[in-house]
Symmetry: C2
Subunit: 350 residues, 2 copies
Amino acid sequence: MKRTRPSSRISRRVLLSTAAVLPTLPGLLSPTAARAQAPAGALPSWNDGPAKQAILDFVRATTDQTSSSFVPPENRVATFDQDGTLWVEHPLYTQAMFALDRVRVLAATHPEWQNQEPFKAVLSGDLAAVAHFTEKEWTEIIGATHTGMSNDEFLEIAGQWLETAKHPRFKRFYTELVYRPMIEVIDYLRANGFRTYIVTGGGQEFVRVYSQRVYAVPPEQVVGSSIVTKYEMRDGKPVLMREPMVFFIDDHNGKAIGINLFIGKRPYASFGNSDGDREMLEWTGAGAGARLKMLVYHDDSAREYAYGPAGGLPDTKVGTFSDSLMVEAKAQGWTVISMKNDWKRLFSFE
Amino acid sequence: MKRTRPSSRISRRVLLSTAAVLPTLPGLLSPTAARAQAPAGALPSWNDGPAKQAILDFVRATTDQTSSSFVPPENRVATFDQDGTLWVEHPLYTQAMFALDRVRVLAATHPEWQNQEPFKAVLSGDLAAVAHFTEKEWTEIIGATHTGMSNDEFLEIAGQWLETAKHPRFKRFYTELVYRPMIEVIDYLRANGFRTYIVTGGGQEFVRVYSQRVYAVPPEQVVGSSIVTKYEMRDGKPVLMREPMVFFIDDHNGKAIGINLFIGKRPYASFGNSDGDREMLEWTGAGAGARLKMLVYHDDSAREYAYGPAGGLPDTKVGTFSDSLMVEAKAQGWTVISMKNDWKRLFSFE
């Protein structure tokens, strides 16, 4: 389902210097336009700079009735990728961590898994093998851990896991590993009349388990990947059973398709961090008027991780930020957020 | 995709007498519960009776903070079928009328259709044949008229048609043929904090063309059937192209599935008029607390049409209200709205 882009011939070295230059590029609006003063207290975890300024300029342009870019409140839609954009995605997507833990729990009733890949690798703690699981192997893991129960049962299981599981490096609940600066952007946009949607390549139902609590984003504003569900009667009551079959992949092209399918309006602002978000930003940018397109760039190995053109981490297929994405970001005038330079602090617990 | 129910052995005659009794059945709440007085001016196009009372009782029970059935505003979701529930669906679904008109327009560039079924029947005005088109024949008609253009182009074409086409009997624009009493219910629920969704077996994008204008229901609150769309670049700009392939059928089982997929919350109130709405009402009724489940029953051949157990019209596959649906409505305590007895007036233009 993933569209392959022609790989760029531009070397990582060139891109790294490009990236270093990006933060000094002008923001969304013309550099000659008067810059709005930051409303007192807005975006406190952001350092002053082009990324913060782009957000402030965008909000002013779209909410000031005298602006030519004014957007009526009913059309104010902002979309956010989740993994790597709103919370930590390394060393593996949180939902993958959940799936691996579920394999360990379910192994008690699946003795055959001890000698059967890909389960064997999980159970023996072979993390190197896990890091190189193919899509087919992940499909087996997801099938064994995410299907065969009702949707309500799944929500319950995932909810319980999130209350106990902790991130291997930060030793914190996964829901604590949301980026404070991004929560501030969500709140700031919402305070200015925007409806904020999560548009995730991850499982729609998994994200719904905590989106209200963590982001104040209700279930109906979560667009994600999904599997087939089947309507069945159980003891005279209807249930939706989760089937081992993909229904919709909300990633790459699927993000633009999913936005149209679920929202039916083109976003005025969208935020991503990887190749999977490219089409969402393209789709956003193709609309008229002021449109905010931002990419979170993981260049902070000290406080979090550095990957993509910033290098540093082996490719674990998480949050791929290709050279060509950086090229397109520059060509299209998308704003790249440097985690290292633009964010004063990363997490609320700091 | 349609689940087949075992056909009921109960004769139409028995059902007709059942239907005659239904309006005297108690509403949603216990008959011993004190009945709320109708707020002055609420639901003016409804005659006093159990259907109107069921709506008033439900709203009081779910919005009164002292009620054991109080529902916090964020969970107040109401879902409405469209064809036959919110507007006239006879002699054919409006979207089918649109498709037939499109065949006539597109015939200019398709000379071969003059001798090719199912197009030939449409072009020669053989309405009897059209009334008996199979699903396969409709699929061909929909494929020829609803796909092969971008989604934006489709919205434009459908919008233009709605501004000119008129209903063969009422000689009114289709958007004028919405039921005034149902608009009042939508408004009344919305005034009481409910978010109102359309959940239609019809095309999601077709309904989005007019849902805001006609029902004040925005695109993101329209759940419907959809075809596959494809993300493509045209002159450097992304478009979503409509492909001749079904993506999701939001009917029967699909309505419960679609509600969970798009909304992620179980409705507290739902309104339908045909077998295709059965699972939506079951899904609504399976939730705890006060739940309003209503079926619009077309028994008014003078002001509109009489069909289903009320008989009168030949089966055109539109809005099938089977005997078994009436049996289930009675067994489950769903409220049947008699168009003839419960509605003072049908349309705003009357």
